[in-house]
């Protein structure tokens, strides 16, 4: 479903942001991406979204080379991918329901309101549908972004430190929600610093350090030591 082939990216200073990255993620896999700050986790996610283009190598999503120079359908690509960020990225002057609906409108969904309500229900915040982001707690805001990410049947979910801004109790609620999403056979790439989550879920773990993949282990645990 997602494939990196010898992907490298350099900063203007000449140092590598990513160096010869190669891996593949099959449909329905739950993969943790771990590594210290600045290791290149976010860059990897942005390459999948075609927010970045590699200097070398290729990135494939659903067998389509999204890193190709002549790839002109980034909008269509992003409609297939749901994103969850540490800083939520919610539109502040729209209600929770509208925030989810806008993603569906972009996808030309036939019944955006009903589908948005379904997603909010799955995320457990259907009672807050009419609330604006400022009226929601951090945990509720993150649930809202998850609802937006899964609405419309997006099959790939990219999460960049999704538990970074929430308290420990809410953190486990968010993790539980991701497990629930994964049960629907969605592909999840979850970048995190949190060892507890990684160790608890026992999923595939890709460890990135200084722009290189240093470990790729099925049912792995959190360890930055080599």
């Amino acid at each position: 479903m997602i494939r990196f082939e010898h992907v490298s990216m350099q900063y203007s200073s000449g140092t590598f942001a990513l160096h010869d990255i190669t891996f593949a993620i099959e449909q329905g896999q739950f993969v943790f991406l771990i590594g210290p700050s600045g290791a290149g986790k976010t860059s990897l996610l942005r390459l999948i979204m075609r927010q970045l283009i590699p200097d070398e190598g290729s990135v494939f999503v659903e067998n389509e080379e999204v890193s190709a120079q002549n790839f002109h359908t980034a909008d269509e690509l992003r409609k297939k991918i749901g994103t969850v960020f540490q800083d939520f990225k919610i539109i502040q002057d729209r209600s929770a329901l509208e925030n989810v609906m806008v993603g569906l409108e972009i996808m030309h969904h036939k019944n955006p309101k009903e589908e948005a309500m379904n997603a909010l229900t799955l995320a457990g915040i259907e009672k807050k549908a009419g609330f604006f982001p400022l009226q929601l707690s951090a945990g509720e805001q993150q649930r809202l972004t998850i609802a937006r990410a899964i609405a419309g049947g997006r099959q790939i979910i990219l999460a960049d430190e999704p538990t970074g801004n929430v308290d420990p109790v809410t953190m486990w609620e968010i993790v539980h929600l991701f497990r629930k999403i994964h049960d629907d056979k969605r592909t999840i790439l979850f970048a995190t610093h949190n060892a507890e989550i990684v160790n608890a879920l026992k999923q595939r773990v890709i460890t990135v350090k200084k722009g290189k993949i240093v470990k790729d282990k099925q049912k792995g645990s959190y360890s930055l030591d080599l």
Binding site: R78, K79, I91
Partner: protein
């Protein structure tokens, strides 16, 4: 602010565009009038008159040279003075000379044509309003050139205002636009609300400006009518389904002017939004 600037610019556009159109039509009308009249001495033979007519036409400087007999001259005279029976009683066809009416290809040829006619011994007098025609054309050309420069600058102002407004809106909504782009929204999807707003403001500004312009015209109409005394009804467009008259201006003229501004303003809105979106939305 934006609405005010656009309304002002559009009102100025109407004033200058309307003036240019009116002046162009008036000059066009004047050019259709005889620009020089050659009067012949009494009892001149028709053959001599037609010989001179041929000479004038052979110069290649005339569009037409028309012969006016004494009977025709009397008929015109009667038409002109139909409300004054006393004058009509006093004049007979013998009192009016035969004449040739010269329509020059260009007013600058009038001097040569008049000189040629004056050489003919049968010619009593050549009457032409060279200075008036020349001055009118010169003034019209100057006003048209000035107005075109002004119109161009107003278009630039409109473009600049709309471009800056769109840019400001994009910057203000940058976070929202980035989120929408992340969700797969196309550039068109994210700029559509900005474009709609721009088109709406453009439409309101056009309606307000055409209302101001029409009110101004109606207020000044008595003065303009005095100034343009003798100018007949001037059609703006030939062979148009409805009669659009620029003088005196009718409702269709104002409607056409307003509609044209809405369309042109709409195009400028679309172009400026497109450029701003291309530049600032990644």
């Amino acid at each position: 602010m934006v609405l005010g600037t656009l309304t002002f610019s559009f009102t100025m556009l109407f004033i200058f565009a309307g003036s240019i159109l009116l002046l162009t039509k008036i000059v066009g009308y004047i050019k259709t009038q005889p620009q020089a009249t050659v009067y012949f001495v009494k009892d001149t033979q028709k053959s001599a008159i037609f010989k001179l007519r041929e000479e004038l036409m052979n110069t290649g400087k005339t569009r037409d040279v028309g012969y006016v007999s004494q009977e025709q001259a009397l008929s015109y005279y009667k038409q002109l003075n139909k409300n004054d029976p006393e004058i009509l009683e006093m004049v007979s066809k013998e009192a009016l000379p035969q004449s040739l009416e010269i329509y020059a290809k260009d007013p600058t040829y009038l001097e040569d044509l008049a000189a040629l006619a004056k050489k003919n011994p049968a010619v009593e007098n050549v009457d032409y309003e060279k200075d008036i025609v020349d001055n009118l054309i010169r003034i019209t050309n100057s006003i048209t050139a000035g107005a075109l420069i002004f119109l161009g600058s107003q278009f630039l102002v409109v473009f600049f205002v709309l471009f800056m407004t769109t840019t400001f809106k994009i910057m203000r909504r940058k976070q929202e636009i980035d989120i929408l782009r992340l969700l797969g929204a196309s550039k068109y999807f994210v700029t559509r609300p900005i474009l709609k707003e721009g088109l709406f403001i453009n439409m309101v500004a056009s309606i307000v400006s055409i209302t101001i312009f029409t009110s101004g015209y109606l207020y000044l109409y008595p003065h303009i009518r005095t100034f343009l005394f003798g100018i007949p009804t001037l059609e703006l467009l030939e062979n148009f389904p409805v009669s659009v008259t620029i003088w005196p201006a009718n409702i269709y003229f104002f409607a056409l002017l307003g509609l044209s501004t809405m369309i042109i303003g709409g195009l400028i809105t679309m172009i400026s939004t497109f450029i701003a979106a291309s530049k600032y939305i990644q």
